[in-house]
C-alpha cells in the first residue's frame, strides 16, 4: 500500500495554532481538495492521516510532513503530482503551503519513527557572540552535557550531548544573531530552546524555525520525501 506524503510550511500568524488543530485543518483541506482519504473503521471513523514530529506551538517551520492514506486506485489513475500539490495548496489556510508531494510505501517506518534529527534556525539575543562562542566550545568539546528538562510536570536531568550534531552562528545583526543547529530527535526531541537555555540562561530566543527534518543512514542524511520516493533513482543528499 502506498500513501501520499506532503511536505508543507507553517509560517507567520498560523504558528500559534497547535498540533491537534493542524490535524483538523488538514482533514478539512483534504475534503476541500476532494482527495479521497481512507477512513478508519469503527464507531467514530476518522480520516487516516499520520503526522511527523509535533512542532511546538509558536515555532515556525519549512519542513512539516503528513502522510495521507489513500486507495491504491488513486495513485494508479488520478495521481498527478503538480495537480494534487496545487489543489492541496489552494485548500490550506494562509501561512500553510505545500512545498512538495510524493508517494511512499506505507510499510516504511512512520514519519515520527523515521526522522532522526531536525535543523533549526533561531534568533538569539541577550548574549554577545563571543560569550556564545565560549559556551558553544564548552558544549562541543565535552563528552557529556547534562541539562534540566521538564516532562509531565517533573524535572529530569538528561545527558543530551550526543543529540547535538552541530551548532553555529549563521548571521550577526546589530543586537542579535542567528544560529543554525542540528539536533537529534531520539530518544526524545531536543528543542533548541531547551539547549540554548542550558548553555546560557540569559539568552532570549525568537523566530524559531524548523528548516529540515532528516533521516540518517550511516553518515548520510536524507530528506523524508527524497528518501522514500518510489523512484529508485539515487536519493538526493541534503547535507553532508
Amino acid at each position: 500500500m502506498k500513501c501520499l506524503r506532503v511536505r508543507y510550511s507553517k509560517l507567520g500568524k498560523i504558528r500559534f495554532v497547535g498540533h491537534r488543530d493542524v490535524a483538523r485543518i488538514w482533514e478539512r483541506a483534504l475534503r476541500k481538495a476532494e482527495i479521497p482519504v481512507l477512513y478508519s473503521q469503527g464507531f467514530s471513523p476518522h480520516p487516516r492521516l499520520s503526522f511527523g514530529l509535533a512542532l511546538p506551538t509558536g515555532f515556525e517551520s519549512e519542513a512539516e510532513y503528513v502522510d495521507i492514506y489513500l486507495d491504491d486506485d488513486f495513485f494508479d489513475i488520478d495521481f498527478k503530482e503538480t495537480l494534487v500539490n496545487q489543489k492541496l495548496n489552494d485548500s490550506l489556510p494562509d501561512g500553510m503551503n505545500t512545498v512538495a508531494v510524493g508517494v511512499v510505501e506505507t510499510s516504511e517506518d512512520s514519519l515520527q519513527e523515521a526522522v532522526d534529527s531536525c535543523i533549526w534556525k533561531v534568533k538569539v539575543s541577550g548574549s554577545s557572540t563571543e560569550e556564545f562562542e565560549v559556551s558553544r566550545e564548552k558544549l562541543m568539546s565535552s563528552d557529556t552535557y547534562e541539562i534540566q528538562r521538564e516532562r509531565k510536570g517533573k524535572i529530569f536531568i538528561e545527558d543530551i550531548r550526543s543529540q547535538v550534531h552541530s551548532i553555529a552562528i549563521e548571521e550577526k545583526n546589530a543586537v542579535d544573531f542567528n544560529i543554525i543547529t542540528e539536533l537529534g530527535t531520539k530518544p526524545r526531541v531536543l528543542r533548541p530552546t531547551d539547549l540554548l537555555r542550558a548553555m546560557n540562561p540569559e539568552i532570549k530566543t525568537k523566530n524559531i524555525l524548523r528548516k529540515e527534518q532528516l533521516i540518517l543512514q550511516g553518515n548520510t542524511r536524507f530528506e523524508p520525501l527524497s528518501f522514500q520516493k518510489l523512484d529508485p533513482a539515487a536519493p538526493a543528499e541534503v547535507m553532508a
Binding site: 500568524k13 498560523i14 500559534f16 495554532v17 497547535g18 491537534r20 488543530d21 483538523r24 485543518i25 482533514e27 478539512r28 483541506a29 483534504l30 475534503r31 476541500k32 476532494e34 482527495i35 479521497p36 482519504v37 477512513y39 464507531f43 467514530s44 471513523p45 480520516p47 506551538t57 509558536g58 485548500s91 489556510p93 494562509d94 501561512g95
Partner: protein, 657 residues
C-alpha cells in the same frame, strides 16, 4: 492607525491558547478603513471558542462588509491571562481581522446573549479605553451598541450603552450605518452626539436609553418614558425580517483555525417557534415562524460543505424537526455526492420516536449523544410550562434510541418552575429510572445523564411575573434529586450552580439600578461569570448590599398584574394581556396547542407586524402534533380571542380541531 500584531507576537507564545487571538479564519475579510465608511467592531464578550460560531455576529459581519458605507471586524473577550498582559503592556482591545485597536472604530457593537456576560461588556470597554457610562462619553468616543436576546430587557446595562437594537439585525445595521456615515461626512460640530442619538432613535427597533427616564417611587419602578425634550417613541418595537430567503447568510461561514464550540457548518432553516413553551424566551420573542425555502437550504448546505471542508452540518432553529418536510431535506443531504461521509445534526430535538429514527439516519458517519428535554418531571407540570410531552412520548423516544444502538441518553430538566411540588421534582428521577429500565432491554449497562438547570423567569414570557425560587429552595430541590438518584445504578446527575441562577435572575428582570452593581462586580474582578472558576456570588451579594438593593425585590418576588415591568416600553410584539392570560392558564395546569395548526391565539406577533407564519406546510409535522400522542380529552384547547381570515386556510389544510 497601524496593526498591533508586531507587539502581540512578542508575547503570544506565553499566552494560553494563542490561536484565539490571531484571526486568519477561512471567510475572514480584511476591510480597508476609510473616512467614508462607518467602521464597526463586532464584539462577542466571551471567549473566542464560545463567540466565534455565533451566527448572528457572522451574518452582520458579512452584511456590513458588503455595503459601500460600512465595514466590520471582530473581537472577543480576551481571557484573563491575556488581558493582564495587555494591561501590563498598554495594549488596547483589538480586532482579530487586521489587529487594529478598538479606538480605530466608530461603533463597538456587543452581542449579548446571556446575563452573566454583562461584566465582560465592561471589561471590553475598559480594555478599549472607553468610558463605561454613556453620559461620560463625547463625540470622540465610539458609539456603543448592544444586540442579541438580552436587549429585550436592556435596563440593567442601559447606562453603559448608547443604543440597543431589538430583534433581527439584518436591515437595521444598514440604516444605522447610513445615518452614522452621513453624520461623519458632515462633521458638523453643531450637530452633537445627542442629535445623532435622536436621529437613531427614529429607526424602528432602535432604543436609545439616554433619551428615556426611569421613574422610581419607594423602591418600585413606576414608568420608563421618553424625556420631555426627546422625540423618541413611547414604545420601541422589535425588528423582524419577513423573508429569510432574502438573507442567505452567512454565505462564507467563518472556519476557525482552532477548535471552537459547534465546530461545523451551520445552516439556519427557520426563525421563530410556535410551540409556546412558557419558560422559553427565545420562542416568544422570535415569532412568527419564518422558514427558509427548502431549495435554498439545500444549496446553502451543498455550497457550504464544499467551501469549508466540514463533514458535519447542523440545520439550526429552535425546533428543527418541525421544518416542513424535514424528512426530504435529510434524505437530500445524506445522499448528496460527497467523497467523505457527512453527518447531520438537528439541535433542539423534539421528544418522539420519529425524531430518533431520523437521528439514526442522519448520524451514519459519526454518532453524537442523544439529548431529550422533557424539562419537567410530571405531565401536570409539563402542562403548566406547555411542554406537552407525555411520559409515553419520552419512553418511546428512549426505546427507539436504545434499540438503535445508543447506550447513553441525556435528559434535560428545569427545577424551580411555577407550581412545582416535590412530587414533580422527584418525577425527574422516576422518569430517568423508567428510561434505564428500557435501556436494560437492549444493553447490559445503559446509562442516563440527567442535567438539571435552575429556572430563571424571562421578560416577554408568560412567566415574567413569577417569583423565582430562592437559592436555598433550588439547592433543596437539587439535594432531593441527588439523594433519590444515589440509589439508581446508571443514573448520573448533573446540576447548574444555583448561585449562578440567582445572579441570572437578578439581571434577567432587573432595572437601571443595577448598573453600579455590575460595575462594582467588574471592579472586584468578576469577569467571565459564566465560567465556574471565575464565578463568585459573594461579590454580587456585596455589590447589591452596598447599593441598598435586595435580591428578593429583583428575583424572588412575584410581580403584580398592574405593575410596570422594566421592559414595558419595549415590544417583542406580544400583547401583555395574551401573556397574562397564558400565565393564568399555566397556573390552572392548562396547556396551549401549537398555533401553527390550530386557530390563532392573537399573541400579537403576527397581527402586530402584519405578517404571518411563513411555512411551506401548516399541518402538524411528521411524527405527530408536538410529537406527543396526546389524546384530545387530556387537554382543552383554548378558544381564540379574535377571528382572523387566515383561520380558514389553516383549517382547510387538514388540521383537526
Amino acid at each position: 492607525m497601524s496593526s498591533l500584531w508586531a507587539e502581540l507576537e512578542q508575547f503570544l507564545d506565553e499566552i494560553e491558547k494563542p490561536a484565539r487571538y490571531i484571526g486568519g479564519e477561512d471567510g475572514m475579510v480584511k476591510p480597508e478603513h476609510s473616512p467614508d465608511k462607518t467602521s464597526w467592531l463586532l464584539i462577542y464578550p466571551d471567549t473566542y471558542e464560545i463567540g466565534l460560531p455565533n451566527q448572528g455576529l457572522q451574518i452582520l459581519y458579512e452584511i456590513l462588509n458588503e455595503r459601500d458605507d460600512s465595514l466590520a471586524e471582530r473581537s472577543y473577550a480576551p481571557w484573563v491571562d491575556m488581558s493582564r498582559e495587555m494591561r501590563n503592556r498598554g495594549i488596547p482591545l483589538f480586532s482579530l481581522d487586521t489587529h487594529h485597536s478598538a479606538e480605530a472604530f466608530d461603533i463597538l457593537a456587543f452581542n449579548l446573549s446571556a446575563e452573566l456576560v454583562y461584566t465582560n461588556l465592561l471589561e471590553c470597554l475598559d480594555l478599549a479605553n472607553v468610558p463605561f457610562y454613556s453620559s461620560d462619553r463625547n463625540a470622540d468616543d465610539p458609539l456603543v451598541i448592544a444586540g442579541g436576546h438580552c436587549t429585550y430587557n436592556p435596563e440593567p446595562f442601559a447606562d453603559f450603552i448608547d443604543i440597543a437594537v431589538l430583534g433581527d439585525g439584518e436591515e437595521v445595521v444598514g440604516e444605522i450605518s447610513e445615518i452614522f456615515t452621513e453624520w461623519k461626512r458632515k462633521n458638523d460640530p453643531k450637530k452633537s452626539r445627542l442629535q445623532l442619538l435622536e436621529e437613531m432613535a427614529g429607526l424602528p427597533g432602535v432604543y436609545v436609553p439616554s433619551l428615556y427616564e426611569a421613574n422610581f417611587s419607594s423602591g418600585r419602578l413606576l414608568s420608563i418614558s421618553p424625556k420631555e425634550e426627546s422625540s423618541a417613541p413611547n414604545i420601541v418595537e422589535k425588528r423582524t425580517i419577513t423573508d429569510l430567503s432574502d438573507w442567505p447568510y452567512p454565505k462564507n461561514q467563518l472556519v476557525p483555525l482552532t477548535e471552537v464550540v459547534h465546530d461545523r457548518l451551520n445552516v439556519e432553516i427557520f426563525r421563530g417557534c410556535t410551540r409556546g413553551c412558557r419558560f422559553c424566551q427565545a420562542g416568544m420573542i422570535t415569532r412568527p415562524v419564518r422558514e427558509r425555502p427548502q431549495e435554498q437550504v439545500l444549496t446553502m448546505v451543498e455550497e457550504g460543505l464544499k467551501r469549508t471542508g466540514y463533514d458535519e452540518v447542523s440545520l439550526t432553529s429552535l425546533s428543527s424537526a418541525d421544518f416542513s418536510d424535514i424528512e426530504s431535506v435529510i434524505t437530500e443531504v445524506m445522499t448528496q455526492d460527497a467523497c467523505s461521509p457527512v453527518s447531520l445534526s438537528l439541535p433542539s430535538l423534539r421528544v418522539d420516536a420519529f425524531t430518533v429514527n431520523t437521528a439514526a439516519q442522519m448520524q451514519q458517519a459519526r454518532r453524537t449523544g442523544l439529548t431529550f428535554a422533557p424539562e419537567a418531571g410530571t405531565w401536570r407540570l409539563r402542562n403548566v410550562i406547555n411542554k406537552l410531552i407525555s411520559d409515553d412520548d419520552l419512553l418511546a423516544a428512549v426505546e427507539s434510541a436504545y434499540s438503535q444502538g445508543w447506550r447513553r441518553v441525556k435528559l434535560y430538566f428545569l427545577v424551580g418552575l411555577p407550581t412545582e411540588t416535590d412530587e414533580d421534582t422527584l418525577g425527574i428521577v422516576s422518569l430517568a429510572e423508567k428510561t434505564l429500565e428500557i435501556g436494560r432491554k437492549y444493553h447490559k449497562n445503559p446509562s442516563v445523564t440527567v442535567s438539571v438547570g435552575g429556572f430563571v423567569p424571562k421578560p416577554d414570557t408568560p412567566f415574567q411575573w413569577f417569583g423565582q425560587n430562592t437559592e436555598e429552595e433550588l439547592l433543596r430541590k437539587i439535594y432531593l434529586l441527588r439523594d433519590a438518584a444515589k440509589k439508581i445504578k446508571g443514573l448520573k446527575l448533573k446540576w447548574h450552580d444555583s448561585r449562578a441562577t440567582v445572579v441570572e435572575g437578578i439581571l434577567s428582570r432587573g432595572d437601571r439600578r443595577l448598573a453600579p452593581v455590575i460595575e462594582k462586580v467588574w471592579k472586584e474582578g468578576g469577569v467571565f461569570q459564566e465560567w465556574s472558576e471565575h464565578f463568585d456570588i459573594s461579590i454580587w451579594k456585596n455589590a447589591m448590599k452596598s447599593e441598598n438593593l435586595r435580591i428578593e425585590d429583583f428575583a424572588y418576588r412575584h410581580r403584580e398584574e398592574d405593575e410596570f415591568l422594566p421592559w414595558d416600553h419595549l415590544s417583542a410584539g406580544l400583547h401583555k394581556d395574551f401573556l397574562w392570560q397564558d400565565w393564568r392558564d399555566a397556573l390552572n395546569n392548562q396547556g396551549l396547542e401549537d398555533c401553527r395548526w390550530t386557530p390563532c391565539y392573537d399573541c400579537g406577533a403576527c397581527t402586530g407586524y402584519g405578517i404571518e407564519h411563513v411555512v411551506a406546510s401548516a399541518v402538524p409535522p411528521a411524527g405527530g402534533s408536538q410529537g406527543t400522542g396526546v389524546t384530545s380529552e387530556q387537554k382543552e384547547i383554548r378558544v381564540s380571542i379574535e377571528n382572523k381570515t387566515s383561520f380558514k386556510d389553516l383549517q382547510s389544510s387538514g388540521v383537526k380541531k
